[in-house]
């Protein structure tokens, strides 16, 4: 695939299509082979392992085949990625472990309110299409910071570099975490080892070939992840709506779910279980009123009971039971408080099932209004964040022309929607299956494969006969969001080989995003910082050496951080969007659409936007509050009741207004800069600025 004289874009596209059709066929053959092996008695772990190792080896092979020594190839894949393939690569760059594994689970658990992520993570591409992609492609250098640097100067470029690293790093940790989780669940390897196995896969993809290698592996990863996602959805569709494309037909199923929800709300067994949870929660609340007194009283009562039984010469089993109860009693007041707080939290399970189709549920008008506001806040932040994530914007530098960049946004969204339209359907299908096939059966009839998931990871499933009637009540089941996608194949009655396929799909989603992010971070350091600011005279060879060294260092550091399991991964992913939109969106969009925007405005706007966003997160997010020792009540810092994940709704307007006001108060940008803006706006312009030489 090297650049030659007489290179034809058309022939290249044809050749790519041929390669990827062959590849897809080969992948199906591989699945068939494993399916046969399963029938012949191949074990689950062996199947999981073969899938993971075979796909990682495949990506590595593509990565090595795409090695390059040319700067253009390393940073922008030679700028000849056809729109269709760039769309696929962007889609897998975009869809992370969160989209693949967690999205359907969120929809299962939250119903309508979870749809904020579906709209937010797709509608942002409209903004990419009309505000950014074509103009950045025309500008045509390598990174987002390049644009900020050329348009506003070196200080905003530095802001860009810092924000790119901040956003990318927060996001990449979540991806490596996903890789470790999937690897350890399906192969039984330890989490920490899983992280480093995944890391090896990521590095093999991107190390030698940079953007070029990442692009072609991302296309391969998209094909695997979409096959893996759609297979169980199709089979569940046949099972429940009698139609292999349930995306078009799951509406009536929602009405059946609504009927079941009403039934469970009124069911005496369900009510009994919920009452037990409520009583336990109430009891713990009472104990927590005066923990020291409750602790002493509880302990004394148990001691007295044990002593009384001994004195009365009670049967040995009663005595030992009393002694065991005493031994199990919390060791100190702190431990007791912790235990009671957990018990108090059971009140959440005392509520009737959440209605899937109902928007913004809440106990009163105020709670409903708050839910609606936060729904819109999340949609807003995810959309504008999408249009500001450097690893996505970078992909539009790789198309051959402005036309192709516009077209490529369409294909990106098309390939993303293949999964995003299926996720709500999957959530409904699984919910219907659980409600109609599991609730109400006897405990003895619970299928073994379901309990096997509990053994793999206890957070995925908790099912205990609370009211001891031997029947499964809905209120007795707690499902972890990740389980929805993972158990899809088994619910559909498919062989384990499909579960292995789903694992490979999840891994592909996590690896492809991690690849793109690591490359973006390494480029911010190697290209923007080293080449553009520290050593502009560096030779091609030393630029690539620096780029690769930094890639390796960033990757190892990220894996090291991840192997310590930093908490609150999901929050961090959402936070990355709010941070990105506050830092980049105003400066980028105004930079193209408003010639008057100048470097002072951009500096002030980026600093103010990012500052407000970070401040809001620090003061309202419990984990960060802890880290920074903020003790005043959260309510004092909360504005309009917005959740910390949506901090961007404040960062954005502040950044926008600051950029405009400060720009107007300071001199307009010079002629050269205004010419640059003109050049970006027209695909071809006489006398346009040659961006290669600035």
């Amino acid at each position: 695939m090297s650049q030659q004289a007489g290179f034809s874009q058309k022939a290249f596209t044809q050749q790519l299509k041929r390669y990827y059709w062959l590849y897809t066929g080969g992948f199906f053959a591989f699945i068939a082979l494993l399916a046969v092996a399963e029938q012949l008695g191949m074990g689950r772990r062996a199947i999981g392992m073969s899938f993971l190792l075979a796909t990682i080896a495949l990506y590595a092979m593509i990565g090595i085949m795409s090695r390059t020594l040319q700067v253009d190839e390393y940073y922008v894949a030679g700028r000849r990625v056809p729109a269709f393939f760039n769309g696929m690569a962007t889609a897998s760059d975009w869809m992370s472990a969160a989209s693949f594994i967690a999205m359907a689970g969120t929809l299962y658990l939250q119903g309508y309110d979870g749809l904020a992520f579906i709209m937010g993570w797709t509608g942002g591409y409209v903004l990419v299409a009309v505000f950014l992609a074509p103009y950045l492609r025309k500008f045509g250098q390598f990174t987002v910071s390049d644009f900020l640097g050329a348009r506003y100067g070196n200080v905003p470029r530095t802001f860009g570099i810092v924000s790119t690293i901040l956003v990318g790093f927060v996001y990449v940790i979540a991806q490596i975490y996903g890789v470790g989780l999937i690897t350890s669940r399906f192969t039984g390897l330890e989490f920490g080892i899983g992280v480093f196995v995944g890391l090896a896969g990521i590095l093999l993809c991107s190390f030698l070939g940079g953007m070029r290698a990442v692009t072609w592996t991302q296309v391969a990863q998209y094909i695997i992840l979409i096959i893996a996602y759609l297979t169980p959805v199709t089979w569940l569709g046949i099972k429940h709506v009698g139609f292999p494309i349930p995306q078009l037909a799951y509406g009536p199923l929602m009405q059946k779910i609504a009927v079941l929800e009403k039934k469970f709300t009124a069911d005496p067994g369900e009510q009994e279980v919920r009452k037990i949870f409520k009583d336990r929660s109430d009891a713990a609340t009472a104990l927590l009123a005066d923990p020291a007194k409750s602790y002493a009283e509880g302990k004394a009562a148990l001691e007295k009971k044990a002593a009384d039984l001994k004195a009365a010469n009670a049967p040995a089993d009663q005595v030992s039971a009393a002694e065991k109860a005493l031994a199990d009693y919390p060791k100190d007041i702190e431990a007791a408080k912790k235990k009671w707080t957990t018990e108090k939290g059971l009140s959440a399970r005392a509520a009737p099932p959440r209605e899937h189709a109902v928007a913004f549920p809440g106990k009163d008008e105020k709670a409903r209004d708050l839910a609606r506001r936060n729904f819109l806040g999340i949609v807003f932040c995810m959309m504008l964040g999408t249009a500001a994530l450097p690893h996505i914007l970078m992909r539009y530098y790789t198309t051959p022309s402005v036309r192709e960049a516009r077209r490529s946004v369409f294909w990106s969204l098309f390939f993303i929607c293949m999964l995003y339209i299926s996720a709500p359907a999957l959530a409904v299908l699984v919910k219907f299956d659980v409600y109609s096939n599991f609730v109400g059966i006897a405990y003895a009839d619970i299928p073994g494969w379901l309990l096997a998931w509990r053994a793999v990871d206890p957070t995925l499933l908790n099912i205990v006969d609370i009211n001891k009637d031997g029947i499964v009540q809905l209120a007795e089941i707690t499902i972890g969001g990740d389980l929805i996608v993972l158990m899809g194949p088994e619910l559909a009655g498919l062989p384990y080989v499909v579960s292995g396929l789903v694992a490979a799909g999840g891994l592909a989603a996590a690896l492809s995003t991690a690849d793109g992010l690591l490359l973006t971070i390494a480029n911010a350091l190697g290209h923007d910082l080293y080449y553009k600011m520290i050593n502009p005279k560096a030779s091609t060879k030393s630029r690539l050496v620096v780029a690769r060294t930094l890639l390796l260092m960033v990757a190892v550091f990220a894996a090291w951080v991840t192997s310590h399991k930093p908490g609150d991964i999901l929050f961090l992913v959402g936070a990355a969007f709010s941070l990105a939109l506050s830092a980049f969106f105003p400066a980028l969009v105004l930079g193209i659409f408003w010639k008057r925007a100048n470097k002072y405005g951009a500096m002030a706007g980026m600093a103010a936007g990012l500052g407000v966003c970070i401040y809001y997160m620090l003061t309202t997010y419990p984990w960060l509050r802890n880290v920074f020792g903020i003790t005043a009540p959260i309510a004092d810092y909360t504005w309009f009741g917005m959740a910390p994940i949506s901090a961007g709704v404040f960062g954005f307007p502040v950044g926008m207004i600051t950029t405009i006001v400060v720009s107007l108060l300071t001199p307009p940008p010079d002629e050269k800069t205004q010419d640059l803006v003109s050049s970006c706006r027209y695909p071809v312009l006489e006398g346009e600025v040659d961006t290669k030489n600035i």
Binding site: M119, T122, G251, M254, Q255, R406, F414, D675, S678, P683
Partner: protein, 88 residues
């Protein structure tokens, strides 16, 4: 300083207008639609509550159509105003 002709300005104005129209549609299917979700969900849309359908699928299809229209429209505009790229 690049001298932009009246035609160039017109091209840019037309670009801004189409963007404004498309973003208005984008705004309605996203924000207006979900703001009124509780009421709209009363409408039965082929079995789906209407707002649920829109947020789960309808809006996504509209987004794709918006991007498709923008891509086609701008290609035409490029040719009309003589700023299109030369095909390889």
């Amino acid at each position: 300083m690049i001298q932009l002709s009246e035609k160039h300005h017109e091209y840019w104005r037309k670009n801004i207008i189409i963007v404004a129209i498309l973003l208005a549609v984008w705004f309605v299917v996203t924000y207006v639609q979900s703001w009124f979700a509780v009421g709209l969900n009363e409408i039965n849309f082929f079995g789906w509550p209407f707002s649920f359908y829109m947020s789960a699928q309808g809006a996504l299809i509209v987004y794709m159509v918006i991007i498709w229209i923008y891509w086609r429209y701008m290609n035409k505009l490029d040719a009309e105003y003589g700023v299109q790229e030369v095909e390889e």
